[in-house]
């Protein structure tokens, strides 16, 4: 550790990363270059965007675990693969690793055989960050739990885009960071404490909705919970919904609202309708936007530079807003 601060970037690194080092500083860049990122779950459009961003920025290594074969759909949703890979039998992990490696030779990009579901807990020990692409809720919770059980901090991110709606969940456990300075101030180091996905989702809705208007949790948050519950109860693969599922989604919404003792109208029908219509599809512009935030947040977590998202980021195309919800809310000091 003592040598760490003195290690210089290579001339090549200094030249390629010049413009971004001017944003986050050379120490942040060095910390990034020592980070190891594991990516499991489906490599969708948003994940491909985030991967492009972190590989360009110069993390240490990226390991992809996605054994689904490249298909016409995956080519359409990601921009890093060429059409000749369709039905070639190559896995998404292997194909994306090869393409991403070409983006930046200074990052070690590899693909790991098998499925993330089957990886033993000690597999995770090598990594500083685990990013889970589209995956069922149970799996998200399980892997988040594994990340929390290792001897060192393994940051956990899960993210998905459905149509024009995107969500990122972040668990950095205990995270120390230096915020970016605002004009004429010197920032003090900060610490953020994160709840696990399990804890966040078990928090009851009523207090979230009873907060002051400006702090009230956005309806998008609850809408995503309904979708996730519906897919889980119906044993659907994430994204395997269609317009025909709207009645089922509305019923799930009503049931959840009832058990949470809140009004069902706080989740507008229209939002569920839009999610049902979207099915597994992603709007590329929205994947670019949410994938931009996701990449940025992974880089913040490994560089300890900049205030990170706590703990949900939600984007809606119709509202043109990307907002942050802390669940459970932080207690006012």
């Amino acid at each position: 550790m003592a040598d760490e601060g003195n290690a210089m970037l290579t001339e090549q690194e200094a030249a390629v990363y010049d413009r971004q080092i001017r944003v986050w500083g050379v120490e942040a860049q060095k910390r990034m270059s020592k980070s190891n990122i594991l990516v499991g779950g489906a490599i969708t459009g948003i994940i491909a965007e985030a991967l492009k961003n972190i590989v360009l920025a110069g993390v240490g290594s990226v390991t992809l675990v996605d054994d689904t074969p490249v298909s016409a759909e995956s080519i359409a949703a990601t921009f890093i693969l060429t059409p000749d890979l369709i039905d070639s039998g190559v896995s998404m992990g292997a194909a994306c690793a090869a393409a991403l490696q070409d983006f930046n030779p200074m990052v070690a990009v590899r693909s790991e055989e098998g499925n993330i579901v089957d990886k033993a807990p000690d597999f995770y020990d090598f990594f500083s960050v685990v990013l889970l692409g589209r995956a069922p809720l149970d799996l998200q919770k399980k892997i988040n739990g594994i990340c929390r059980s290792r001897g060192h901090k393994v940051a956990f991110f899960s993210a998905d885009v459905r149509g024009g709606i995107g969500q990122i969940f972040v668990d950095l456990q205990t995270h120390n960071y230096t915020p970016f300075p605002k004009p004429d101030t010197t920032p003090e180091p900060q610490t953020a404490q994160y709840p696990s996905l399990e804890e966040a989702l078990s928090f009851s809705w009523k207090p979230l909705l009873e907060q002051k208007r400006k702090e009230r949790t956005d309806s998008l948050f609850f809408t995503m919970r309904v979708l996730e519950r519906f897919e889980q109860a119906e044993k659907r693969r994430p994204g395997a919904v269609s317009a025909a599922d709207l009645p089922g989604l509305l019923k799930t919404r009503d049931d959840m609202a009832k058990s949470q003792d809140v009004l069902p109208e706080m989740i507008p029908d229209e939002l569920l309708e839009r999610l049902a219509d979207a099915g597994p599809g992603e709007l590329p512009a929205v994947s670019a936007i949410v994938g931009g935030i996701l990449g940025q947040e992974i880089l913040k977590s490994v560089s300890s530079k900049g205030a990170p998202v706590e703990n949900f980021f939600l984007y809606s195309l119709t509202k043109h807003t990307g907002l942050i919800e802390r669940v459970p809310p932080l207690k006012k000091s």
Binding site: R22, I75, P183, D218, H320
Partner: protein, 631 residues
């Protein structure tokens, strides 16, 4: 999501992208992913190593090649069915005229400089084609829609002028690193290596300033007969860091309330050195061009860490070595060099010279990395913000081509949370009725009509301030000036003669209350200058000796003058919002955007929440307080 009709509209839409850099690469990718199939892109730049951290369509092997062409080829690999036309050219070239623009459904800008943005703005206004503008710097970005008659044009709210410093601060009383960096670029660098023969403020330091300056005082920057490069470098060192500073010390008034600077002489700083360090062997096989650019004083001296702050002695050694290397390795360029942030040796010279001056004046010295950023006005840039802003541009372009004009938005990406939001939007603002570009608003030119020439007005006002590319000047019924390839020799001669004429000496004199029309057929831009005669100008504050006033007063950010006035012309992304006083860049856009911010704040105010604004919101707006006051 999108209906069949909408998907078809996207497919047939003709899109013009101006700029294939930081935002451009992301934009081209997201456009084709979104179903756009008919795209032309214009970019005059070639690929550089410092682009590779974010311009993901480019690889190291592409360095030196056309951005437009390489971006096109890269995208065709994963979307072979797209129709992409690449122009490796300047958008200001006459081939991109109004008829060219009219062929497109929408124009998308991802530019890095305000002149090109203003030019495209005028083309789009004239052609009646919607324009989506964009900009990023660091974590901050925005996308904005300009449609003639409906929303603001790019120039509806003028930017604060580029930051500049009073001449006296630069030449005599620096107090910040930036002052010394501007000094190093504009004085010693320009004098030693720049356009030959230009007198500058480093001259005229002789004891006898009476009539004629001594030969020695104007030719000190030339190498004397039989003078070795190192001897020359030492003499220049003593002159600029020693004698000149000592001279300044004689001006007692300056130091009443200031710390007195300390002159530096090479014998005191480096008593042991007078011989050059051993010359390193040239690398075999490197081609001449590469070699020239890779000549480095710092690496000859073993100073490889660009983040290290050099000591006094190290700065002195780098200074001497960089002067020596210019003389020995790059002699042919001396006399015509212009400072370039990608020229290693130039950056080393400027860093060491500014640091030496910092030391004289008790100012904090800078690492090469930091000095390069300030000297080159380098825009901070990351991939993520560009990707986000490109996504926003595509969202707006999609609405435009599918006719959803009522849903158009101006978007922001923030570094610090705005309430709970990192990304947010508002309705675009209506046009500014007082804008001289998209409305007919008079402009006033205060000028000494008995002294100023037409050429000076053209250079200082028409080109620099009004961003006119090929002006025609009309006065009464006569054409006083015109440019273009189709002029015959007589016309050229007569226009050149007119340019040299003082305003009041025209057959019909141009004087107080005269109306002079300016016309640029390429931009389809015209305006009328109302001449206001004025005898006296403040040389420090009004160095042009003429002042342009419009109905929209420009923002008074850095009043004043000469040195260090160029805007950042750096990088590929562009920028709008400024996080550093020196990087007063392409802020036009910022202004109209901030007008929107203010509007939103007022709307919030209606709900009684204005007083509860979070502190960070206030701070993000501090950048442009002046702007808000004027709106």
């Amino acid at each position: 999501m999108a209906s069949k009709a909408e998907r078809d509209a996207i497919k047939v839409a003709k899109v013009l992208m101006v700029g294939a850099g930081g935002i451009g690469c992301e934009l081209l990718k997201t456009l084709v992913m979104s179903g756009f199939q008919d795209i032309e892109l214009i970019d005059m730049d070639t690929i550089e190593v410092s682009n590779l951290n974010r311009q993901f369509l480019f690889r190291k092997k592409h360095v030196g090649q056309s951005k437009a062409q390489v971006a096109r080829e890269a995208v065709l690999k994963f979307r072979p069915d797209a129709k992409i036309v690449a122009h490796h050219a300047n958008v200001k070239d006459p081939q991109f005229d109004i008829d060219f623009i009219k062929r497109f459904t929408v124009v998308l800008n991802g530019l890095d400089n305000v002149e090109a943005r203003r030019h495209v703005n005028r083309l789009c206004l004239a052609a009646g084609v919607p324009l989506v503008e964009s900009g990023t710097t660091g974590y901050v970005g925005q996308a904005d829609v300009h449609i003639k008659g409906r929303f603001t044009c790019f120039e509806c709210y003028p930017p604060p002028p580029p930051k500049s410093f009073p001449t006296c601060t630069i030449t005599n009383t620096p107090s910040q690193p930036v002052h010394c960096i501007v000094w190093a670029k504009e004085l010693p660098f320009a004098k030693l290596f720049g356009e030959a023969g230009l007198a500058n403020d480093l001259d005229m330091r002789s004891d006898d300033q009476a009539e004629e300056p001594l030969e020695e005082d104007t030719n000190w920057h030339r190498v004397k007969e039989n003078e070795t490069p190192t001897a020359y470098a030492c003499r220049v060192f003593d002159k600029v860091f020693g004698h000149n500073v000592a001279k300044t010390l004689e001006m007692d008034d300056l130091w009443k309330n200031r710390q007195r600077p300390k002159p530096l002489y090479i014998d005191e700083v480096l008593p042991e050195t007078s011989e050059p360090p051993a010359k390193r062997p040239r690398t075999e096989g490197a081609n001449a061009g590469d070699e020239e650019r890779s000549v480095s004083a710092a690496s000859n001296l073993g100073l490889r860490d660009t983040n290290q702050v050099w000591s006094l002695q190290e700065n002195a050694r780098v200074f001497l070595e960089s002067v020596r290397l210019f003389l020995e390795e790059r002699a042919s360029e001396i006399g015509s060099l212009r400072f370039d942030k990608d020229d290693t040796l130039a950056v080393e010279f400027v860093t060491s010279a500014s640091n030496l001056r910092d030391i004289s004046f008790g100012i904090q010295t800078q690492s090469l990395f930091a000095a390069k950023g300030i000297a080159g006005n380098i825009v901070h840039a990351i991939a993520t913000t560009n990707a986000i802003v490109a996504g926003m541009i595509v969202i707006e372009a999609t609405k435009i081509v599918t006719g959803q004009m009522d849903k158009l938005k101006t978007h922001w990406c923030e570094q610090f949370l705005r309430r709970k939001m990192l990304l947010w939007s508002i309705d675009p603002n209506p046009p500014n009725p007082k804008c001289y570009v998209c409305s007919d608003t008079p402009l006033f030119l205060e000028v000494d009509t008995n002294k100023a020439t037409l050429g000076e007005v053209l250079q200082k006002i028409v080109k620099k301030k009004l961003a006119v590319v090929s002006p025609m000047v009309l006065f009464g019924n006569s054409i006083l000036y015109e440019t273009g390839d189709d002029l015959d020799e007589d016309e050229q001669r007569s226009y050149a003669a007119n340019a040299a004429k003082v305003l009041s000496q025209f057959p019909t004199p141009i004087g107080h209350n005269s109306l002079v029309s300016i016309d640029d057929s390429q931009q389809d831009f015209r305006c009328t200058l109302h001449i206001v005669h004025r005898d006296v100008f403040d040389e420090e504050k009004e160095p042009d000796m003429m002042v342009l006033r419009g109905e929209i007063p420009a923002v008074k950010a850095g009043e004043g003058t000469a040195n260090g006035t160029e805007a950042a012309e750096d990088d590929d992304d562009d920028l709008t919002i400024i996080d550093n006083a020196v990087q007063e860049v392409d802020a036009v856009q910022e202004t109209s955007a901030k007008a929107g911010k203010r509007k939103r704040d007022e709307e919030d105010g209606d709900h009684g929440s204005r007083k509860k604004r979070l502190p960070e919101e206030k701070e993000t707006e501090d950048v442009d307080t002046g702007v808000i006051d004027l709106l």
